[in-house]
């Protein structure tokens, strides 16, 4: 270890790429807004805002999954991740930005698209005398939606910020008393975040934000399924950043052993996602009750069947076959390919979750989707890069740093 490069510097290429992608994204957003968002056709408006909606929710949940990963490993007394812990921290620091975007888009979808007698995205806003929607009004109403959305994003941001502050303290040496206090604070903060995460991402938030688009339909598996989607993409994003930093010569302490374990997370949670997906699908398929099968009818048989099966192939078959071997999880090329594929696959998954309900007759996947995707990819490169440059890349006085350096799988 001749020279330990402690501080990340944002390179010119990175800035160019992020600016380029964001420019393409903003251009796509503006063109979409003019041609579809301001259109007189309610359906066109719904497609435009739905596209922005699923992208902002997906990338917010993916960024937030990084903090979930940090808190879970903290609470499990896992030391192996300390060598690259600043990467998930930098990713999770994007939550306030993406959170604000998601809050704006969600509120616009709820209130801006309300046409009084009907609502093209969130039908529960205009229940009329629909008995099912009236029954659900205790959960699906505008006040609860606003309060719970603000509270969810606010606490993810606040508790995540506290965790990052605690992590910043490990850059300086501590005495025994301070160290004990630090471990206690870290544990408490991680537990609080996880409890709140379970109450939001693990249950209510996907119901409220995504499932309520099909206001008549319900599935208790839905939140876990969404969580699995976002967590496996979050791990893929962490893997991408690790590989990028390693290729640029940073993170000397992070070896293929660490990448191997991140790869195991990607592999295992791809299977976990499939397990939840299948549990939801099979029960509905088996019981065959019309009010439940309505969700899958046009997805399996109708215009969405291509995306439906593509979703399973990308998110289950590919990871199982390509990530199973030990060598694959240690190979930068395979891991990069799989990480991009997994993020793309779960992006497609969110696409069919939201757009499959807004536009049942045809698949609106096109330039707008990829434009907004470019916008968020650019923002991730821009903000994560900037956050990484703010703090040293290795927490020198973290109690588990040595454990992480000698980590061996």
């Amino acid at each position: 270890m001749a020279s330990l490069r402690e501080q990340f510097e944002v390179t010119g290429t990175m800035r160019t790429w992020s600016m380029g992608l964001m420019g393409v994204g903003i251009l796509a957003f503006i063109i979409g807004l003019i041609t579809m968002g301001f259109s007189n056709d309610v359906h066109e408006q719904a497609i435009f805002w739905g596209t922005v909606l699923y992208n902002s929710i997906f990338f917010l949940l993916v960024a937030n999954a990084s903090m979930f990963f940090i808190c879970v490993t903290t609470l499990a007394h896992g030391g192996w991740q300390v060598a690259f812990r600043r990467i998930p921290e930098a990713i999770s620091a994007v939550v306030p930005v993406f959170g604000l975007i998601a809050i704006f888009v969600l509120f616009y979808c709820v209130f801006g698209l309300n046409h009084g007698d009907h609502h093209p995205v969130f039908h529960w806003m205009t229940p009329g005398n629909d008995p099912l929607l009236l029954e659900k009004q205790g959960f699906l109403n505008a006040t609860f939606f606003v309060v719970w959305t603000l509270l969810s994003v606010g606490l993810w941001w606040y508790l995540g910020m506290r965790m990052r502050k605690l992590s910043a303290e490990t850059d300086k040496p501590m005495d025994l008393e301070q160290g004990r206090k630090w471990v206690w604070n870290n544990t408490v903060m991680a537990s609080l975040f996880l409890v709140w995460f379970a109450l939001t991402v693990g249950s209510t938030v996907p119901w409220l934000w995504i499932m309520s688009i099909d206001a008549h339909w319900y599935s208790t598996m839905f939140s876990w399924y969404t969580f699995a989607s976002s967590f496996v993409s979050g791990m893929a994003l962490i893997a991408l950043w690790i590989i990028y930093m390693k290729n640029r010569g940073y993170l000397e302490y992070t070896t293929s052993e660490h990448l191997h374990d991140v790869g195991k997370f990607m592999f295992a949670f791809s299977i976990f996602w499939t397990y939840l997906w299948f549990s939801q699908y099979m029960l509905i398929w088996y019981a065959n009750i019309p009010e439940e099968t309505i969700y899958f009818k046009h997805r399996v048989d109708g215009p969405w069947s291509g995306i439906f099966y593509l979703n399973l192939i990308i998110n289950f078959v590919c990871p199982v076959l390509l990530l199973m071997k030990r060598g694959a999880k240690r190979n930068y090329t395979v891991m990069t390919f799989m990480a991009v594929l997994i993020i793309f696959g779960h992006w497609i998954d969110f696409n069919q979750m939201v757009m499959g309900s807004i536009s049942k007759e045809h698949v609106p996947l096109g330039w707008l989707d990829f434009g907004i995707l470019a916008l968020f990819a650019g923002m991730i490169i821009f903000f994560v890069g900037r956050n990484l440059a703010k703090a040293p890349l290795v927490a020198k006085y973290h109690p588990f740093l040595k454990e992480s350096i000698i980590h061996h799988t």
């Binding site: 299948f278 699908y281 099979m282």
Partner: protein
């Protein structure tokens, strides 16, 4: 199987064991095996053992299970005894997935356990020579196989200089046998070192 001659060195510290393994291998001695009270990370690499193929075997057992489940259920419900269950097709793939999954896991798990036992020559009533009883307690027991050119006394001294706390010379059955330990005591016999 045959009786073989072994020099046994016992270490009480992992940090001494690893350099000793390196020294012994560099000196050209053949390590028969190292018996440890618990799994020691990285010892297989230090000893130069090849990567295990157990996972490949597990994969093959797994897909055997998948094929067995799908083929048998498919044959039963489409050829042998087709039944109308809740109006579902005769080959309802989603309904078969849980059983297919269970059989995959069962075949892989049982197959891997049996393969593991076979490779390690373990099983009910199968006995192997114990080089040192404290290998199950607190000692790392390194067993070196002697050939006709090995100078046992030199090797003993070499092990002691490498940090072994106990060194002895044993002539023992190298393979496994069926039987009981209390009637096979003769195999745990120490012979005077040949100079």
């Amino acid at each position: 199987m045959a009786l073989k001659r072994f020099v046994v060195g016992c270490f009480d510290d992992e940090d001494v064991l690893f350099p000793a393994v390196k020294k012994v291998r560099n000196a050209g001695y053949k390590i028969h095996d190292i018996y440890t009270p618990f799994p020691v990370h990285g010892l297989d690499h230090a000893m130069g053992l090849r990567e295990t193929s157990l996972h490949t075997a597990g994969f093959i057992y797994g897909i055997t299970g998948t094929t067995t489940a799908l083929a048998s259920m498919g044959w039963i419900f489409t050829r042998d005894w087709p039944m109308n269950i809740g109006g579902k097709p005769n080959f309802p793939l989603p309904a078969f997935i849980p059983i297919t999954f269970e059989l995959t896991v069962l075949f892989a798990a049982v197959g891997m356990v049996i393969t593991f036992l076979y490779i390690c020559q373990m099983g009910p009533f199968v006995k192997k020579h114990h080089f040192h009883p404290r290998a199950t307690d607190d000692l790392f027991v390194m067993v070196i196989e002697c050939n006709e050119r090995t100078n046992v006394n030199d090797l003993k001294g070499f092990l002691q200089s490498a940090g072994a706390v106990e060194v002895d010379y044993q002539v023992a059955e190298s393979g496994w046998w069926l039987g009981r330990y209390d009637q096979e005591q003769k195999l745990y016999a120490e012979e005077p070192a040949v100079v």
